[in-house]
């Protein structure tokens, strides 16, 4: 009985100490982590949006469950960025930030997160791959990889990842078209 008590005391003490130190570190690093998260978001927004004089992460509109970041110059909307994703990749979710002109034409895309096979699927994050989406819209391109009869290059040895990116961007564009009125027509601002 005495032995059991001793075990309980030791385990409880160790766990409590671990809990306290984790809570402390979590609290201490909270503000810097949020700052870094915002910098990361702004970083990817700036790569896909045209030059602007507002803060797109504050001028955001929510529609159909997606947040649309709106960039403006002299008060006029010149670009919209949104995040879209696909779980059809080789492993895990592929998250893509897409920047478009108000008309629905892609300005640029940026891979926010992917866990594809290094050296194969990870090539979706390379410049030449992302660049082929530039200037494409739902109207002027067939949104499939070439192997499936579309307009986008696959990567040799890795068709699955480009296929996932292409379908993610397409579904994002479709959602934008559907909610266009709400996004551009003064939908309620979110913080």
């Amino acid at each position: 009985m005495k032995e059991i008590l001793r075990l309980m005391v030791v385990l409880t003490t160790v766990s409590a100490l671990a809990g306290f130190s984790l809570a402390y570190v979590n609290e201490k690093t909270k503000a810097p982590r949020e700052y870094q998260d915002r910098m990361k978001l702004l970083g990817s927004l700036n790569t896909v949006l045209p030059p602007h004089d507002n803060e797109p992460d504050k001028d955001a509109v929510e529609a159909g469950g997606t947040t649309y970041y709106i960039s403006k110059e002299d008060g006029a909307v010149n670009g919209i960025a949104f995040e879209t994703s696909s779980d059809k990749g080789y492993s895990g979710l592929i998250r893509v930030m897409v920047g478009i002109k108000p008309g629905g034409e892609v300005i640029a895309i940026e891979i926010v997160e992917q866990k594809e096979t290094p050296g194969l699927g990870t090539k979706i994050a390379e410049g030449w791959f992302k660049d082929q989406y530039k200037g494409k819209s739902l109207a002027n391109a067939r949104w499939q990889v070439k192997k499936d009869g579309g307009d986008f290059d696959q990567i040799s040895g890795a068709t699955i990842s480009p296929r996932a990116v292409t379908s993610a961007v397409r579904s994002g564009l479709e959602a934008y078209e559907k909610n266009k009125q709400q996004i551009l027509g003064g939908g309620h601002d979110v913080q």
Binding site: E3, L11, V14, A18, S21, P32, M39, T117, G119
Partner: protein, 196 residues
């Protein structure tokens, strides 16, 4: 047993990957590029150092029957702390290593050294053991990753070393390449150790 002999032991003679064969799962998974190998090696070494120090410091107070549970709590806490601190202050490194940091919890080297060494030795020697084992792990990872990245992608640390006409042996950066490289290097290391 001196500090330096403990330190050197882990690097080659008792290399955690080639000789003790511990921590092979993360090693096979992340050795696709040299950059990943170095990052994983450094992160694991840091956690190993922290956990060895704490385990050695509390070794007299921890009853045998709950020691594994205590070690796991200590290791998991350090991994989480590393994760939080890196994401707050070293974002570039964090982005490169992101998925590997949680993997360190299940790295058998860390629990293995807590159990086999730190629980029986002083804090001082445990530090040497952690650094030696950590360096050995990093060295082995870099060796495996160099071969895989070079053959599988034609690059080392992202720099193209072979001309554009080189057709990469894709299999080397896929899981079979990991097993092939690891197996051959382990055989070579053991053959070398027998001669020495």
């Amino acid at each position: 047993m001196t500090f330096s002999s403990e330190l050197v032991r882990g690097i080659w003679k008792e290399n955690p990957l080639f000789v003790i064969v511990l921590g092979t799962c993360p090693a096979l998974a992340v050795s696709t590029s040299v950059e990943n190998g170095i990052g994983m090696g450094i992160a694991a070494t840091f956690v190993l150092l922290c956990s060895n120090i704490v385990v050695a410091a509390v070794r007299r107070f921890v009853p045998d029957s709950v020691r594994i549970a205590v070690y796991i709590v200590i290791i998991a806490s350090f991994v989480t702390i590393v994760d939080l601190v890196m994401s707050a202050y070293f974002r570039t490194l964090y982005n490169a290593l992101g998925i590997f940091i949680p993997l360190i919890v299940v790295n058998c080297i860390i629990l293995g050294r807590a159990e086999a060494f730190a629980s029986k030795n002083s804090v001082f020697l445990s530090i040497a053991d952690a650094i030696g084992m950590g360096l050995g792990f990093t060295l082995a990872l870099v060796m495996i990753a160099s071969i895989r990245e070079f053959l599988g992608n034609g690059t080392i640390l992202g720099y193209h070393l072979l001309g554009g006409s080189y057709i990469p042996m894709l299999v080397m950066i896929l899981p079979p390449g990991a097993f092939l490289t690891y197996g051959m290097l382990t055989a070579a290391a053991n053959a070398l150790n027998k001669k020495m």
